[in-house]
């Protein structure tokens, strides 16, 4: 059974059709990439899956539940986490605080026990902190736990955003251009890091990426879209040589 299923998903902004009749399925444990030129609707698809946008038409099913048009926080609590193209860390919180926000959705104590630091809250807070530190340790960010989130180097900020998403204990992780702005060394590390967390956290990963080296290197399956429509789907070699993909990226060849 597929973990994520999109059926004929369409999203229009006024007269512009950003995503047109997009369908795909992700099996549990899969690592799949979504590529396409700028403005082809990749991030819109992520926003539709995570509930930031409501589809104009179509159905999105996650783990057997229809999540079409559900609120982002509900979709997150069902097990979908994401990172953002332009890093969106909480600058008023430290590194640990950012990760702890990802734990908040599992908190059972009510606000009054939190204010009174009642035993049930104190226990949950302690567990939360322990788990958050373990998570930071697993991503070797633990030595930065009390730094300001936004004072971290760029690559670390990207990693922290992933850590924060992992704290919600997702089954599906959506990574929006994780290698954007990274230097070759950092993206090299990311190429090892993504397959690592896929196994370590028992995830399914759907990622948008522009750096073809990263995509071709780690993703067994690639979906290419242009103007909100799927133009090709398959393993890296097939995508690389697909004429429609080449056309979308480079335009049609003109011979004089």
């Amino acid at each position: 059974m597929s973990l994520l299923r999109l059926d004929g998903v369409t999203k229009c902004f006024g007269g512009l059709t950003a995503v047109n009749n997009f369908s795909t399925e992700l099996a549990p444990g899969e690592l799949c990439a979504l590529i396409g030129p700028n403005g082809s609707g990749k991030t819109t698809i992520f926003n539709l899956i995570t509930g930031i946008y409501t589809p104009t038409a179509g159905r999105i099913t996650f783990n057997g539940t229809d999540i079409t048009g559900k609120r982002p926080d509900i979709i997150a609590s069902l097990g979908v986490a994401r990172t953002f193209q332009n890093i969106r860390l909480f600058n008023g919180l430290d590194v640990l605080g950012n990760v702890l926000v990802g734990h908040h959705l599992r908190l059972r104590s009510d606000p009054f026990s939190a204010i009174l630091r009642a035993p049930n809250y104190a226990r949950e807070e302690k567990e939360m902190r322990q788990e958050a530190m373990e998570l930071l340790g697993a991503l070797s960010l633990d030595h930065l736990a009390h730094e300001d989130a936004t004072s971290l180097p760029y690559g670390q900020q990207r990693k922290l955003e992933i850590a924060r998403a992992l704290a919600t204990r997702p089954r599906l992780l959506l990574l929006d251009e994780p290698a954007a702005g990274m230097n070759p060394g950092e993206s090299e590390e990311l190429m090892r890091f993504i397959p690592h967390i896929l196994d370590a956290f028992d995830l399914t990963i759907f990622l948008i990426e522009h750096q073809m080296r990263v995509v071709m290197g780690i993703c067994p399956r690639i979906i290419a879209i242009d103007h909100g429509e799927t133009i090709a789907e398959g393993p890296p070699e097939a995508i690389q040589n697909n004429p429609r993909v080449i056309e979308a990226y480079l335009g049609v060849g003109e011979y004089a």
């Binding site: 982002p72 926080d73 997150a76 969106r88 860390l89 959705l105």
Partner: protein, 368 residues
């Protein structure tokens, strides 16, 4: 661990000293000084609650005056004697339910807070879907609606005639006691997991929601809790000044609260407290500029409202030189205090002077 115990003991000592100071002032200070001290506490509550909604949750709400009015009128009507009510309501008689009730201060004040919280919840529920300026305008509008309702509900609020002869129950124990409770509750909330969620909403709503933070639940939580304490402060105000009418709760009150909080620093409860006290004291100290005075040969006529001009100028200076307010996001803590004093001692030690006795500001919040 040692440090935590030390800090707890110091906090306890400070609280005891502060309680002693309150007892001493209530017994010996003249009513004028006591009134200023009470106002300091009331404005502290206003500023801390505004900070909870704006500084920590990032929701720019301007409904403070309205919620304070709800608390003030509730407490006033419940604590006034039936005789006083009859004297007040000479245009139209008071509604029969309220005519003969007379409650002690505490339950009246609590009900004032609860009603303000209910109104806050009802307003916050739809209004908190709005963002930024739109929320500010909506809450400002609701605040005005409450005031206009109070002007027109002649048989309940006595309209624009206001209420006179409210028993003066508020003393420094009530006002500072409740200010400390407000600070304590707010501090505990913003330091908890819920507080992290509030700060996450402030910093980035989209990211917070994508991490499973329920936006409206948390916004309404902060807003309702804040309204509760604003209602309490309104009740303290009514039973301090003993005469209230709808004009007390004009937008000007909210404006003052915003000014105080910005001056103290967003997301700093220490800042709100210090700033509220400074503001109240300054405003009293500046009273002479509103009466005629002379500078050398120059005679200056008294200009009503001159104090606010000076206060505005001061606020501008603070914003120019301390862009993030006096305290920014910093909070007083004993660790910080010892760090500073030992640094100071080291510096003075080098120049061969003796360190001055460290002065402890007693209104500071406790640290867990």
């Amino acid at each position: 661990m040692m440090k935590i115990t030390r800090n707890r003991i110091l906090t306890l000592i400070t609280l005891v000293v502060f309680a002693g100071f309150l007892a001493y002032s209530q017994a010996t200070f003249n009513p004028y000084i006591l009134r200023i001290m009470n106002l300091c506490a009331i404005f502290t509550i206003f500023a801390v609650t505004f900070n909870l909604v704006y500084g920590y949750t990032g929701q720019f709400s301007l409904g403070h005056a309205g919620f304070a009015a709800v608390g003030a009128y509730t407490a006033a009507l419940l604590t006034m004697t039936p005789v006083q009510k009859e004297l007040n309501f000479f245009l139209e008689p008071i509604v029969p339910v309220l005519a003969n009730v007379q409650w002690p201060f505490l339950p009246a004040m609590l009900l004032g807070g609860v009603l303000a919280a209910v109104v806050g919840f009802l307003i916050g529920w739809p209004a908190l879907r709005l963002r930024g300026d739109y929320l500010a305008i909506a809450t400002l509008g609701f605040g005005e609606i409450i005031r206009v309702l109070f002007v027109n509900m002649q048989r309940v609020t006595n309209g624009s005639l206001g209420l006179k002869g409210i028993p003066e129950y508020t003393n420094v124990y009530w006002s500072w006691g409740l200010a400390l409770v407000t600070i304590f509750v707010t501090k505990r909330l913003v330091d908890s997991s819920y507080g992290r969620a509030l700060k996450a909403i402030r910093d980035d709503e989209v990211a917070a929601e994508a991490l499973g933070v329920k936006l409206s639940y948390h916004k309404i939580l902060a807003f309702t809790l804040s309204s509760f304490f604003v209602g309490i402060a309104g009740a303290l105000l009514a039973n301090l000044i003993s005469t209230i009418d709808p004009k007390v709760f004009l937008f000007f009150l909210t404006y003052q609260v915003v000014g105080i909080t910005v001056m103290g620093g967003m997301s700093s409860l220490t800042g709100s407290t210090v700033s509220a006290c400074l503001y109240t004291v300054f405003l009293e100290a500046l009273r002479p500029v509103e009466s005629p005075f002379s500078i050398g040969p120059l005679r200056v006529p008294g200009v009503p409202g001159m104090r606010m001009v000076i206060f505005s100028a001061l606020l501008l200076l603070v914003i120019l030189f301390y862009r993030r307010g006096l305290f920014g996001q910093a909070e007083f803590s004993w660790d910080w205090f010892f760090e500073k004093t030992s640094a100071l001692r080291a510096r003075l030690g080098r120049t061969g002077k003796t360190a001055p006795a460290p002065s402890i500001e007693s209104e500071e919040e406790e640290r867990p």
